[in-house]
C-alpha cells in the first residue's frame, strides 16, 4: 500500500519511527516479539548468574555480580517499557513467558556449574550479546534504539568484568586454571549458537533487515565474535574447544567448526538442561508473590476510596 511504501522510505532515509507513528502490523508484531523476547532473556538471565551470588568467593566479586544481576533486571525493565509503547502490557508479556509461549535466549537454559562460569558467561555470553546488540542501537524503532544504547553501555562493562574473572583464574592455581578451561569448554558452542542458525536457515532475517530492525546477518556477527574472542582466549592461555579452528590468511578471519544445531533446536523445543528449572523458578516467584501484588492493589484501592470519600 501507499502507507507501506512511505513507511519504507522513512526507514530507508534513516528516520526513527516513534510510538505514535503509523507502522505496518508486521513491523509492530516483529518488534513486540523481538523486544519482549529480549526482555524475557534479561529476566531469565538473572537466574544462572544469580545462582552464584550467595557463593561468590570474595566480597568484591559478590558485589560486582550482584550489581550485574541488578543491571539485568533493569534492562528487563527498560525493554518491557519499550515493548509497552507498541501496545502490549507487561502483564501480558509476563503471562507469555510463564506459560512457556514466549521464548527467551536459549543460552540461559544451560547451568552455571562452577565459579568460573561467572567469568565465562560474562566474557562469552555478554560478549555475544553485545555483538548482537550494538547494531540494534541503530534500530529503526526509536524507543528500542534508545533502550539498547543504555543496555549496550552496561553490557560492555559486564563483559570486561567477566573477562577479569577469567584472567584472575588463569593467573591462579592449577585448579583455578582448569576450572576456567572447563568453563570455556562448556560455554563456547552455546555462545556461538546465540547468533542463531546460519542465515540460509533463518526465518525472519530478510524482512527484518529491510525494516531496519536487523542490520547484520547471523553469520556475519558470529564471525565477528569468533575473530574477537579467539585472541582473547589465547591471551588467557586457554584453548578454544574447536579442532577446526584455524587462522585463514586469505580471508583475514578465523575458520571454525559448525555448532551442533540439533542441540540448539532441542534446547529451543524445551529440552535443554535447565528449561524446566528456569520456568519453574520464574513461575514459583510469580505465584509465591501473588499475595504481595494483591496486597499493594488492595492498599491502593483503599487509598483511592478514601480520597474519593473526602
Amino acid at each position: 500500500s501507499e502507507k507501506d511504501r512511505e513507511f519504507q522510505e522513512k526507514i530507508d532515509r534513516g528516520v526513527r519511527i516513534e510510538a505514535n507513528d503509523w507502522m505496518p502490523e508486521g513491523y509492530r508484531k516483529t518488534l513486540i516479539r523481538q523486544i519482549s523476547q529480549h526482555a524475557h532473556s534479561e529476566i531469565v538471565g538473572q537466574l544462572p548468574e544469580g545462582n552464584w551470588i550467595t557463593r561468590a568467593p570474595s566480597l568484591q566479586r559478590k558485589a560486582i555480580l550482584l550489581a550485574k544481576v541488578q543491571d539485568e533486571a533493569g534492562h528487563g525493565l527498560y525493554l518491557y517499557c519499550a515493548a509497552e509503547t507498541l501496545g502490549i502490557s507487561r502483564d501480558e508479556m509476563t503471562e507469555q513467558l510463564l506459560s512457556g509461549k514466549a521464548k527467551y535466549s536459549s543460552i540461559f537454559n544451560y547451568p552455571t556449574l562452577t565459579w568460573a562460569d561467572m567469568g565465562a558467561v560474562g566474557w562469552l555470553v555478554d560478549g555475544a550479546a553485545i555483538m548482537n546488540q550494538v547494531p540494534l542501537q541503530r534500530c529503526s524503532y526509536g524507543p528500542y534504539s534508545r533502550a539498547m544504547i543504555r543496555v549496550c553501555k552496561e553490557e560492555s562493562f559486564h563483559q570486561r568484568q567477566g573477562f577479569d574473572v577469567m584472567r584472575q583464574l588463569c593467573e591462579g592455581t592449577e585448579e583455578q586454571k582448569a576450572m576456567a578451561q572447563d568453563a570455556l569448554n562448556r560455554w563456547w558452542w552455546p555462545s556461538l549458537m546465540m547468533f542463531g542458525p546460519s542465515d540460509k536457515d533463518s526465518v525472519h532475517s530478510e524482512q527484518s533487515m529491510r525494516w531496519g530492525i536487523k542490520q547484520n546477518t547471523n553469520d556475519e556477527l558470529r564471525q565477528k565474535f569468533v575473530d574477537q574472542t579467539v585472541p582473547q582466549a589465547e591471551w588467557l592461555g586457554l584453548t578454544v574447544p574447536d579442532p577446526e579452528l584455524k587462522w585463514n590468511e586469505e580471508t583475514g578471519c578465523y575458520d571454525f567448526g559448525e555448532p551442533d544445531w540439533s542441540e540448539f533446536f532441542e534446547v529451543i523445543k524445551g529440552n535443554g538442561p535447565c528449561n524446566k528449572d528456569r520456568l519453574a523458578a520464574r513461575n514459583k516467584a510469580w505465584d509465591d508473590g501473588a499475595w504481595y501484588r494483591d496486597g499493594l492493589t488492595a492498599h491502593a484501592d483503599k487509598q483511592n476510596q478514601q480520597i474519593a470519600a473526602e
Partner: protein, 249 residues
Amino acid sequence: MDPIVTFCLRMGDTTLILGQQTAAWCGHAPVLEEDIAFANMGLDLIGQTQLWYEIAAEAEGKGRTPDDLAFFRTERQFLNAQLVERPNTDFAHALMRQYLFDAWHLPMQEALCDSSHEAIRDLAQKSVKEVRYHIDRSRDLIVRLGDGSDESRAKMQGALDALWPYAGDLMATDEVEETLAGQGVLPGLDRVRRAFDAETAATLSRATLTIPENGHARTGGRTGIHTETMGYILAEMQSVPRTFPDARW
C-alpha cells in the same frame, strides 16, 4: 579482643549476613522492581560490610583481609545479630526482617555520625544516606502490605510474630559497647533504642499490625550464639574459598 574489633565485627557480620540473605532474592522476588530493590540493598550492605571489616582488620593488626574475615571464620566467631540470619521463609519475612533491621540501623548510623573514632564516623557519614533510603522503602511497604488485603495483613503479622523476638538482639549491649560508649566511639546508644521503639510503634500501628507481647526474648548473636539456620548460610557462603583455600579470586 580490642573492643573496636569486636564492635566492627558485630556490625559487619550483621550487614554481611543480611546482604547475603537479601541477595538470595535476585530473580525470585514477586515483581521485577523488588528484584532490583533487593539487589540494591544487598549491594549497599555488602559495601558497608567491606568498610566495617577494613576497620576491624586494621584495628586487629594481624594482617587479615576483609575476605579472610568473611570466608575463614566459623559460626561461633560470627557476631551478627540473630535477626538477620532468620530464614527467607517467604517475601513477607524478608520485608519484615529488613524493616526491623532498618529501624535500628538508621538511628545507629546517625549516632555513629558523631563517633569520636574517625574511620567509624566516616563510614557512618558515608552510609547513612543509603540507610535512610532503605527505611523509607521498607517502612512504606510495611504500611501498604499490613494495611492491604486480608491475606497480606496475615502474612505480615505472621512475619512480625516470628521476627519480633529477634529484634532485641540488634540492640543487645555488653561491656564492649559500654567501653566504647565511655570513649565516645559509640555515642547516644540510649537514643537508638528509643528511636527504634518510636519508629516501630508508629509504623506498625499505621500498618494495622500488632506488636507481639512476648518481647525481645532472643539474644546471643553478638557473642557468637546463633540459630540453626546460620550454619547453612555459612556453609553456602564460604563453600568456594573453603574448597580452594590457596586461591585468590
